[in-house]
């Protein structure tokens, strides 16, 4: 191991080898340092804040959130849509790009998938947090009961329940299946009793023989095919929460594609946000290379374009419909009380990403990190604009109203990041966050003559 390490140091441009992949990735699983614990405790602290706020809200009454009479949905649903959106790119990168054989996905897909699963777990909390009576959340499930009470299958909220739970099931399964060979690799190097047991169970007896590899490939392909439609369906269903209503600013047929594009946009940005520090912290520079960032930047540029186009279409539709309520709503967004949110969103999502047309910026890691944060904020603001702004100015001017953010909502929002961060932090220490197997597919196999001088991704 020492030997290979030295090799890396002395030959920075040398091709990545199988051994190096194993070493680099599995090194991440070594006993954690103070940095990791600091990160974990920060996350747990945020989570504790969020949990306390939620319990306080349940104890004191839902009025502790800032919602008011016209604005029945607020921060929680914004967070829900935001996190579902984050989840999206994971499936896109792992499943869709797998089917398209896009090689740039390999080093980042595991991270993206983990992000997907944890983001869905985060998103799934918010519909419950936002309920007036969360202790009756189970009534949204179609379970058989003596009174023959069923949920209302016409309600988009019920579709949400199915969409999100299906998405979680499939993406978690897909994620886990992809992990099996890598867990086996970790098992082979596990030293502690706990890790031996953990990997021994979760690798499901993987020995790496040909039959297993064959089955694995087939299964992976099938799950990828399963997951692919979900990329489109889940966020479409989420968008129907709004599109199926009659609220001006919500009732729009463009919402499903608009939301899916927005979700991929925000998801890729989140992958960049997570990948950059991870890459730095664990020395993955040779696995996650500027080439990958360049490819993700292009994806951002594309989805930013789609999102911008959707924004323009919304305004055009409002104008063309000659519907006074829609027209007012779309006048109100840029020029009304919450103009800052609108123009903030426009800057973050439409204008700032245009800098990616410059090639050097697409591989400029600090720039990308800043941009990805801006996109995350911009996409949160997009949901804010849709949800809050539409509700503040509906049909009856006498019932127009405003919104007061409360510290409880802020606490719960922070808590969600803590929750998500906690899972991510645990994951990177316990499971390989870069797919060992898949990276090995794209680097030269260890032959006697040595490598082809290719860095991951280049030979495709």
């Amino acid at each position: 191991m020492e030997h290979t390490q030295n090799q890396h140091d002395t030959h920075k441009d040398a091709p990545v080898t199988y051994a190096e992949v194993n070493d680099t990735v599995l090194k991440m699983l070594e006993p954690p340092g103070t940095g990791w614990f600091l990160l974990l405790f920060t996350c747990l602290f945020f989570l504790a804040i969020g949990a306390s706020c939620w319990f306080y809200q349940m104890w004191s009454g839902f009025g502790e959130s800032g919602k008011s009479h016209p604005i029945g949905w607020g921060t929680y649903i914004t967070n829900f849509v935001f996190w579902v959106g984050i989840a999206h790119s994971g499936t896109l990168i792992s499943a869709v790009l797998y089917l398209f054989r896009a090689a740039f996905r390999q080093p980042i897909y595991r991270l993206a998938e983990a992000m997907t699963v944890f983001a869905v777990m985060t998103a799934g909390l918010f519909p419950i947090i936002h309920l007036g009576r969360p202790w009756y959340a189970l009534w949204l499930m179609p379970y058989p009961n003596q009174r023959a009470l069923w949920p209302n299958f016409r309600s988009p909220l019920l579709w949400d329940v199915f969409a999100v739970s299906t998405y979680f099931t499939i993406s978690a399964t897909f994620f886990f299946v992809g992990l099996i060979p890598d867990i086996a690799a970790a098992r082979d190097r596990a030293t502690t009793k706990f890790r031996k047991a953990l990997y021994g169970v979760t690798c499901l007896g993987w020995r790496g023989n040909h039959i297993q590899w064959k089955h694995f490939q087939a299964a992976y392909l099938i799950f990828a095919a399963f997951a692919t439609p979900l990329v489109v369906s889940v966020h479409s269903v989420v968008s129907w929460d709004f599109a199926m209503s009659i609220v001006p600013g919500w009732h729009a047929t463009i919402f499903p594609p608009y939301f899916v594009a927005g979700a991929i946009f925000s998801g890729v940005a989140m992958v960049i946000t997570l990948a950059i520090p991870l890459r730095k912290a664990f020395g993955l520079e040779r696995l996650i290379t500027p080439v990958h960032f360049d490819a993700m930047s292009k994806l951002i540029l594309l989805t930013s374009g789609v999102v911008s186009y959707s924004y323009i279409t919304e305004f055009y539709t409002a104008w063309f419909s000659n519907n006074p309520f829609e027209r007012f709503q779309f006048w109100f967004r840029p020029f009304g009380e919450f103009w800052l949110a609108f123009w903030g969103m426009t800057f973050c999502n439409c204008i700032f990403p245009q800098l990616l047309w410059v090639k050097s910026l697409r591989t400029n890691i600090p720039f990308l990190f800043v941009l990805s944060i801006f996109i995350n904020i911009g996409m949160w603001l997009e949901r804010f604009n849709i949800i809050f702004q539409s509700l503040t100015r509906e049909f009856i001017p006498a019932a127009w109203g405003g919104y007061n953010f409360s510290w409880v909502e802020v606490g719960i929002t922070v808590g969600a990041f803590g929750w998500f961060g906690m899972w991510m932090t645990l994951f990177i220490k316990f499971f390989p966050s870069v797919a060992i197997t898949e990276i090995k597919e794209i680097i030269p196999p260890p032959m006697r003559r040595g490598g082809h001088g290719a860095v991951a991704g280049h030979n495709h």
């Binding site: 919602k67 008011s68 029945g72 309920l131 949204l140 309600s155 049909f395 127009w400």
Partner: protein, 1033 residues
Amino acid sequence: MKGDNGQLNGSQSEAIVSGAAGLVQISRRRFLQGLGVSSAVGAAACANPAEQTIVPYVKPDPEQIPGVAAWYSSTCTECSAGCGIRVRTREGRAVKIEGNPNSPVNKGSLCGLGQAALQSLYDPDRLRSPQKQTADRLKQDNLYGPTSQTFAQVSWNDAYIKIKKNVDNATGKKVLLTGELTSAQAELVGEFTQQLGFSHIVWDPTQPVAVAKASEMVYGSYGVPTFSLDKAQVVVNFGADFLETWSNPVGYARQWADSRRSESPLRFIHIEPRLSLTGANADMWAKSNVGSEVRLALFLVGKLIERGRVGALDSGAIAKLTQLTKGITAEAVEEETGVSKQKLLLIADYLGESETSLVMAGGAATSTSDPLPLLVAVNLLNVMLGNVGKTVDIAAMKKPASSAQQMATLIKDMEAGKVDVLVTYGTNPQFTFPSAFGYRGASNRVGVTGDSKKAGLVVALASHLDETAELADVVLPIHTNLEDWGYVKLTDGSVSLIQPSMRPIFDTKSFGDVLMDIAFNSEKPIGGESKSFDAYVKAGYFKAVGTKVTGSADEFWMSSLEKGGLFTSPAKAAPASVSVNAAAFALSFGIESSRRSGGELVLYPYPSVKSFDGRAANRPWLQELPDPITQAVWGAWAEIHPETAKSLHIAQGDAVIIRTDNGEVHVPAYVTEHVHKGVVAVPVGQGHSAYGRFAKSAAEGSGSVYSLLPNKLAKGADAIVLTGTLVKVVRAPGSGNLVTVQDFSSQEGRELARTSVVVGGAAAATAHAHGSEHGGHGEAHGGGHEPKQMYEQREHPVYEWGLAVDLAACTGCSACVVACSAENNIPVVGKKVVAQGREMSWIRIERYYDSVPTEDGGEELKVSFLPMMCQHCQNAPCEPVCPVYATYHNEEGMNAMIYNRCVGTRYCSNNCSYKVRRFNWFQYEWPELLDWQVNPDVTKRTVGVMEKCTFCVQRIAEAKDVAKDLGRMVKDGEIKPACVQTCPTQALTFGNLKDPHSKVSVAAKSERAYKVLDHHLNTQPAVSYLSDIRYKA
């Protein structure tokens, strides 16, 4: 009907309820033991040892059926209009007040103030037992400064002994100071003052004494005439807010609406400095300079003389008037009053051309320092137009007894130590009499000469510890009106009875009984044969009705109690001859030249339905009721014109200080164009420092408007000067905590509240035939709706409930909002929660400012009121989005809500285009005692569930039950939701839309009918609105 017997059972059943709730699943013996304990505890709380003998329903009273309401007819005494009421009781507790349909005054309707009398009965801050002041008021360091009152409980006996000692030994004056009394009380007080040597003084700031005085000067007798708005073609009104609080608001609102619904609706012109509820309903509203109205009235007099319309005036009077009106040109009056020349000429033309008309003046316009000239001019106009005997009935006059002059003299006497015994009841001079007169200091000097103390006593007979009662030595707790007996003699000869609707809650006594006790103790008994006040009332009632008794006396008494009194159809007002008092012409009809210096504004206090003169301030329903004009809740505000506000650097909601030499008031600013530039308008009645928790919390230490008023009385009239005080208004640091429920006043062209503009003389015919000018929305009319939709149209096999709202009749008075709160257990959430946009009211009265075009191309202000409740849409947007079917469409056409099933996603509220759903953000509780009012037929909702208007489904169920027992369908008009029942103008109609002949079906097919937003959204509401009508002025 029943007397004492039924009421006794009331308390018994309470004991049963409390016993059963606490002790479930125990043996019968144990239960009865517990019952005994809980009865004793309940009785102990009442502190009346006699009630410890209470036993449960061993022999149930046949009239007390658990679950079935018993109704008691009575008379409302909140203001002095004398509306008949019916009090609904359940298991011995009053739960709702409605208007008595038998009463000729209000015909079954009731205003918000009258309904909120329940919250006076159940006021958690009510006096529960006799109290005596422990601190010696004479030893206070500063007799004129704030006193620190401390009270201790005493027995009735001890209190009576103390009173007897002082009454018997008094050498100075003995004074009984009351508010306006009921007829029975007034008669007894007559005997009392005579027997015991008391003098009686009445103080009630709401009484239009100046109007009564002006009647004396022009019509020849003192009193407030009865007006008939429904018989007039044109009504010109100088500031009398008769749709909100003035004189007889419910009765006049009905007349006004009846006329507007008729074939020839009245044309209503309202002149005032600040837009009132009445002004908002006028066809033409003219904003005038304060105190300048007399010039406008004189201008009209001049114009009528020009036309030769002088009516019954003799030539001498005409000559004097010609002299007076010389030189009053339209231009000059425009300059003086601020009302445009065009409007002036139009008003003159309308009046001159009308056959029957009515000119009125009242309210703030006649509370100036010199109110008589305007009132005399107005009365003269009525004489000239021949209205006396037609629309002005001077035979049926209400004679207010309130006297500011006597009050002022009393205060002087008290200061001089000439008064030894002061007994107060039903009036709050410490709050409502300008504090500049010094009532507080004077009250402390009762029985004091120089610095030495004689035997002096201040007794307050009160049901609440208000500012006046706080100053008393002895406070005796008195029944509220709902626990008391009495009668009110109406101006038309009817006698309206007052009877208790439940047993007294606390150790209180009737005012009449206390007077009789005091007289008896002093060995000068009053009341004749009667040993108690209820007997006195019965005897007095028989005396009052005289020969009109039918059947046996007992039968007649019972039927009178049942009906609420003896109501005679009013005699037709005979055309009266009028002799104008020469003094009338000797008045100065000029306006005081403006003495205003920079930064000073004219104070324009006005009574609001939310607080009236202050007596309603401790009622949470009224505090939380949005003011119809400003939409503000909880506490007072100051209306300021935007230009004035700008020059004073005041913005909407800023804290401002209104200051005079006499005091200052801290209120939030409400910036509105609909107030005169030189005026700051403030509702009176807020700013209590005592009276109760709600009044005090609403006041937030703001101070009362009465404290700003000067130490002077109106010229010629026996009244205080409410309007016209010059004040300094300055911005105070910070926010004023103004909370309004509606922040946007424009309809944004969305045609929510529609108006049909009618032109010319035979206006109504046109209005009803041509209907809306918005011809393009014919498809929105209820009848001709051909919906295009994916799903099948819903079927309603038996009933399809619907509501029609006639905007031409709706005044925005908000009585329906209070009725809904009372009926449906709608919680009061408080100012802070309302500020967060979380008020719970199921009806809101939306108020929009629009303009209607005038013939000359100008624009006239049009204020629209749109009562908005659940529309019970056939295609309800709320229904499909609920994931758990907590809201659904039932087969009677209603959008039903299942509270139990609701998980609180609030999707329904988001998707409701009318925004009528209310979410329980917190668990709301009723403070102890106010919870006695909760209607047992309606579920109290818990935290986290959605609620909304149910069309009072409990009343529908009850009517269907009755109909089923009788083997028939529910009849049209049998079901009246609370809002429909109480509406003073009958603007709301409820019924079965399946029946093409039902009133609601007919209304929904009216030419004026439309459905809000339906033409945009195809929601197909069950609520139809009939567009308002306006003349093209």
